[in-house]
Amino acid sequence: MKFLRRFLNRLFNSATGRANEERLSEEIAEHIALQTDENLRAGLSPVEAKRQAMLKFGGVEAMKLDYRTARGLPFIENLLGDLRNAVRTISRMPALAIVIIVSLAIGIGVNTTIFSWIQMILFQPMPAVNGAANFLMVEPSSETGGYPGASWLEYRDLQTRLPALRDIVASQIVPFNVGVPGKIERTHGQLVSGNFFSALGLKPAIGRFIRPEEAERPGAEPVVVISYDYWQTRFRCAPEAVGQKLRINERDLIIIGVAPKEFQGTMVPLKFELWVPATMTPALLGGARDLEDRTSRRFSLIGMLKPGATRQQAQNEFRTAMAQLARDYPDASAGISGEILSFWEAPRGPQRLLISGLAILQGVMLLLLLAVCGNTANLMLARGSTRQREMAVRVALGAGRWRIVSLVLSENMLLALLGAGLGAAFAVWGTTALRIAPMIAAFPIFFPTKVDEFTLAFAILLGIGCGFLFSAAPAVQLARMDPQEGLRSGPNTSPRSRTRKVLMGVEVALASVVLIAAALFLQSFRSARQTAPRFRPEGVLLGAYDRSGRNPNDTSDREFAIRLLERLRSLPDVEAAAIATNVPLDLHGIPHRPFTVQGHVRTEPGQDRAVSNIVTPGYFKVMGIPVLEGSDFADMRDKATPPQAIVNEEFVRRYLNGADALGRSLQTRTQTFTIIGVVRNSVYDAFGEPAQPAVYFSYRDRPQDQGEIHLRTRSGNETALASEARANLRDLDPMLPLYDVRTLSQHIERNLYLRRIPARMFAVLGPLLLGLAAGGIYAVVSYAVARRTREIGVRLAFGATSNRVVLQIIRENLGAITWGTAIGWLLALVISLHAIPNGPVNPGVFLGVPTILLAVATLACWIPARRASRIDPMAALRHE
């Protein structure tokens, strides 16, 4: 209390200013007058009486200072003074200040942009949902390590059996065909449990949400909630949208409400537009038995811990519940347990992949920022030394060490915070650029990244951290200075600074780590662009269809594929046509399925797995993948031939030790196939991946209700085929849209998208960092040389050639630089070996980057050294 009152009082005094000063003067005058009177009474002469009174009172000014200190808040007053001073100092060195601020801003901006991604995935996995990071994924898990999802009945059971969780929410991804025949649009939505919106704590933008009782009786409530974006684009935000009918999968659903702005579902970064009660599943998906069939595991569950409950508790309850379900329903649940996972560990979606990639990127960028800090510290140090005399005067006039440090600190902090501010602006621009970049995969992807208070705090924190980092050296140097030494004419003292050299070495080390990382990244990106995918992407058009809403069965699916292919193959420009369930190099990856193959006994636990794709005959021709042994699949209408499979070279090598594969049987969970062919390896998940075993199955044996049409053109102008392909599909079934139409090359570009962002960052930042490092070295060396003008003059006067002088200066500085490069090089090597175990070390990068760095550094030393060696010895000796 006492402290608080005093503080407020002082704050008030600081603000009200000088009125009190007068009061003090009056009091002092009065005091001295009274004392003088007393002295007079004691018999002193008037002059002596006054003198004695003043002596007795003591130093008036010192007392006033004490008084002022007690009255106001010296800390804040000093700070304001420092700040004024800092602004003045900085405005006197605009060029240096701009270099420092901009380089810091770039470092901080890049880091903040990356952090905004990480924080989106870790802390705000669902935009518009408060406390979304508290939601956990409730995932049934199979023995093989897969996450099969939960069935509806299982969800109903778990709702009552997991007391540690409240509000378990179920949802299922569904593509919907929205509209009337001929004008069908494909839109993605979620089938949700009745508590979906209430558990997420959402408020509708207008209208209302699905009521719990609307998700009780199957097929009873034809209602739909639309996303804010959908409302905006389709209804122009008209309030009348609520109550209108939307034709979805040939059923009329009534729009009851609009979700809040930015809400895009529970599986970010996937973006959904429609939410329908899960009980509408049979009505919308052609009699799907999802609601009563326990083997149909299509739902994802999430839930939040009850207050006081722990994750471990939830995990244990979940395991127990799943064990009980496995006993009750062995057909559907045998061998299925459960795991509670954080959002970023989501088994579906790109989170897991992204987070590890982003973590590495963030690490490299933090190193870059450190290098920038080192550079700035060096520049400030060089500048600080020129200010020795100013500081010496301050100390001589009575400034404490701490005041000097705080002076330097405030200058640097101002620079750092300006840098952070500009960096945050860069980050805003960067995240917006990422937001609007198109991202279309099998599902619409939208990254709701933004710069919010979290990211802003991160930027400011980085700025403050940087400020402290690069203040430390100059502040210590100036504060330790002896004022007498400093006041004497400066340049002939302490020409060599150990701190400077160490700093230079550290900066170069950091720069070489970052540069090597950047070069490796660019190299891998470029080689990704150049390596052949081992199939022919040019001239292929892709387009997807989905019959899941059309009451599909095996016979109709097969028949549909046959008729579609017949029509497409009859087009004049089509050289070959095929249908496959998966396209290589998809952002979501290709499924890896378990199997057992005759002739291979697995020794370690688990199951043999291979990339698997289901394709029609003709697929290998379209893709340009040569069949090395055996033949292509049997014709789709062939009913006699037993089920077939085709494997790739890597499969034969890994699982059959290169033995003859043809004729062997291969077993999956449900069927047995005969291997009839071997094809060449190609790229499946990513460029530069190690060869993966793959199995292809035939549409004939495993008809699918959805597929990707692959068309190879004769003319090479594949985009011209799009409208004909669309028309053909529409003729066959007017309710089916052809969606995601793109060329195979475009598809591949999308896969590279996630890599392209960091590649571009590095392409810009690498040279920038090199330039910064060179600038830093140049500044330091030219400063050091300038301080040694006289020494150099003496050397020259005694007959040293200018070449010798240049060599000596370069040798002195290159020592620290070489050490730095070597350490950075080693560090980069260790990191690279750690990040890619057993990967090849790229000799070009590991030799080239240090060479370039050393060359640039030598040049940065040479220029000032040469200038110094050119001076006239006489002028140098007369100097000062």
Binding site: R6, E30, K56, Y67
Partner: protein, 115 residues
């Protein structure tokens, strides 16, 4: 050096409070003279140090001040003890006596007493 000043400042505050307690409302010079009379030479050197202490006490609410006129009809600042100040004086007096007693006892102990 700084510590010694702190001790002096602390005791000075206590002396001010006690003076005002005994003599009632008083101006700065009066307080200084009274302390000087009682403490001998302790404050003879720098009477000025009194004023920051007065300010601190006023900010803490232990004393209050107002303008008035002094014996020779000059404007002077008069200080008086507040209720809080009285309470504080009581507490600090007790504390001081306790501390003094303990320290006194320590000084009284001689080496031979311990053997």
């Amino acid at each position: 050096m700084k510590r010694k000043q702190d001790v002096l400042q602390g005791t000075l505050a206590l002396m001010v409070l006690k003076t005002l307690d005994v003599l009632g409302t008083l101006h700065g010079f009066g307080i200084a003279r009274r302390i000087e009379q009682i403490s001998g030479n302790l404050l003879a050197v720098n009477q000025g140090t009194l004023y920051p202490v007065l300010l601190k006490l006023e900010q803490e609410g232990a004393i209050a001040s107002e303008w008035g006129s002094s014996e020779n009809n000059r404007r002077a600042r008069f200080y008086r003890l507040t209720r809080e100040g009285r309470k504080r004086l009581q507490i600090e007096t007790q504390d001081w006596e306790q501390t003094a007693a303990i320290v006194g006892r320590f000084f009284a102990v001689k080496t031979e007493d311990l053997s």
